[in-house]
Amino acid sequence: MTVGSDGISGPAGRAAGAGVRPEAIRAIPLRHPWRWVAAVVVLAAAVALVYTFASAPDLKWDAVGQYLFFPRIEEAILVTLELTVLAMVIGIALGVLLAVMRLSVNPVVSTVSWFYIWFFRGTPVLVQIFFWYNIATILPFIRLGIPFTHLQWVGQTNNIVSPFLAAVLGLGLNEAAYMSEVVRAGIISVDHGQTEAAQALGMTRVRVMRRIVLPQAMRVIIPPTGNETISMLKTSSLASIATVAELFYIQEEISNSNFRIVELLIVASIWYLVMTSILTFGQYYVERYFARGSARQLPMTPLQRFRRMLLRSHVAPPLVTADPSAASSITPHSR
């Protein structure tokens, strides 16, 4: 503004010099007609789609409802969850190990890790599950012993590698290859100055990794890990090839006897969706936990956001400024 501070000229000068907060702007909001058009088109398409399926003459919706809480389906859901959890535990634990090995200064160790990732990422997980399932056909016995002594333990492979274990091994060992790359990306993302500062304090490399680098890498590691877990939940359906009684296997078994193929696929899909939705929700909170110290203010939980929304509709302030009472309850050190 070219006007001097004495307020010689118009109303703008007077307001600026007065030192009082000017009135909030009450502008007429911009109209967005295309949003309405888009909403109508989408709604019409959705109605058409739902109607098509709902009115499909041979689709028996009551069968869907009937099988949704069928005891065998419920048991199968538990098996799917067990598979997912065990495979992810193996995948994450081995993945962290492989990532640290990959970044090791020891060339032997890092090469081993490279080959593992190359092999397990380079072959289909379906093949790997089927391989473990059929391992007994090439190695009927498993021998564990100490060389040059008579101490040994022999077991029949068929008794040890059950179909369930074959599926867990196939899914978990494959997952480890992917998880190691996720973890490695996280480790690399941590500023090298952190390592130097920790080393200057006299920490060993292992301790620097465990106490300083990995906790910071978690923030980068968590989102893709959530992604991997959700993916695993669905990939676990491949365990059906090893005759594991998980959700996909059981729904297929049922539909083989009653020929309600699509109905049971819908049942399975509903359950897969429910489970992935719960995981998505959980991931949000885990991410929030590991954002400590990195974000000045943590993002609000859905509950907090909902409360804020209710509050705002009552009070309706002109500008959305962070109100201090809500902010203080979500700062990282409130615990």
Partner: protein, 254 residues
């Protein structure tokens, strides 16, 4: 009379074909404050990092408190030290970085007690008590439970100094501790360093703060191109530089 705290003899260091240090000879006595100045790329930070073995030297000898850095000498042969031994020696040397490098996932106190509890195995209560005292000493008694990203640069650097002091080092290395700070925050950090010097801490300070060097430093070293061009009493060197290169540098920064 104790020997020198730091003794460098013909220290050489190269990155590939680039020679960063081309024969550094210097001596830092106990309780001495030595300031190293010079243009960027002169090798001053690299030399500082050699002192606690964050960088390996290629030739020459470098010892701290009478022991070689990173090596062990026995029967005229030099052996590389194991990681554990290198760490034990680093634990006795404090270092403060230009970019603070506080651990962002720990509170100020967490940063300070991490190394004493994990490296030295001190009981948590003991480490926390000293940690609180150290944070109070650097003027941050009220920031104990705050995470680094809620502190200003000057406050972060003072936490970093407290973190280094928590290991009760016999030598402190400062790598341009005020270069990343807003001008008005520099004073607080320099005050803390001045206090340390008065308490008799041996310090090697790479800095661009000529006022600090003149006032607090016992000796001043001017480096350029990987060698020491000139050294001596800071007041004399700054007032009356003998070397052409020193004069040219000082005329730009003073």
């Amino acid at each position: 009379m104790a020997g020198p705290m730091v003794l460098a003899e013909a220290v050489h260091k190269s990155y590939g074909r680039l020679e960063v240090l081309r024969g550094i000879d210097l001596e830092v006595a106990p309780r001495e404050v030595m300031c190293i100045v010079g243009p960027s790329g002169s090798g001053k930070s690299t030399f500082l990092r050699c002192i606690n073995h964050l960088e390996k030297i290629d030739a020459g000898r470098l010892s701290v408190d009478g022991e070689l850095v990173g090596y062990r000498e026995h029967d005229g042969k030099i052996y590389e030290l194991r990681e554990r031994e290198v760490c034990r020696k680093r634990a006795e040397i404090g270092m403060v970085f230009q970019r603070f490098n506080l651990f962002p996932h720990m509170t100020a106190l967490g940063n300070v007690v991490e190394a004493p509890t994990r490296v030295k195995g001190e009981p948590r209560a003991v480490a926390e008590e000293r940690g609180r005292a150290l944070l109070a000493r650097v003027g941050l008694a009220d920031k104990v439970d705050v995470y680094p990203n809620q502190l200003s640069g000057g406050q972060q650097q003072r936490v970093a100094i407290a973190r280094a002091l928590a290991m009760q080092p016999k030598l402190m290395l400062f790598d341009e501790p005020t270069s990343a700070l807003d001008p008005e925050l520099v004073g607080d950090v320099l005050d803390v360093m001045r206090g340390l010097a008065q308490d008799g801490m041996t310090m090697v300070v790479v800095t661009h703060e000529m006022g600090f060097a003149r006032e607090v430093g016992d000796s001043l070293v001017f480096m350029d191109g990987g060698v020491i061009v000139e050294s001596g009493n800071p007041r004399e060197v700054l007032a009356n530089p003998q070397h052409e290169r020193t004069r040219a540098f000082l005329s730009k920064v003073l």
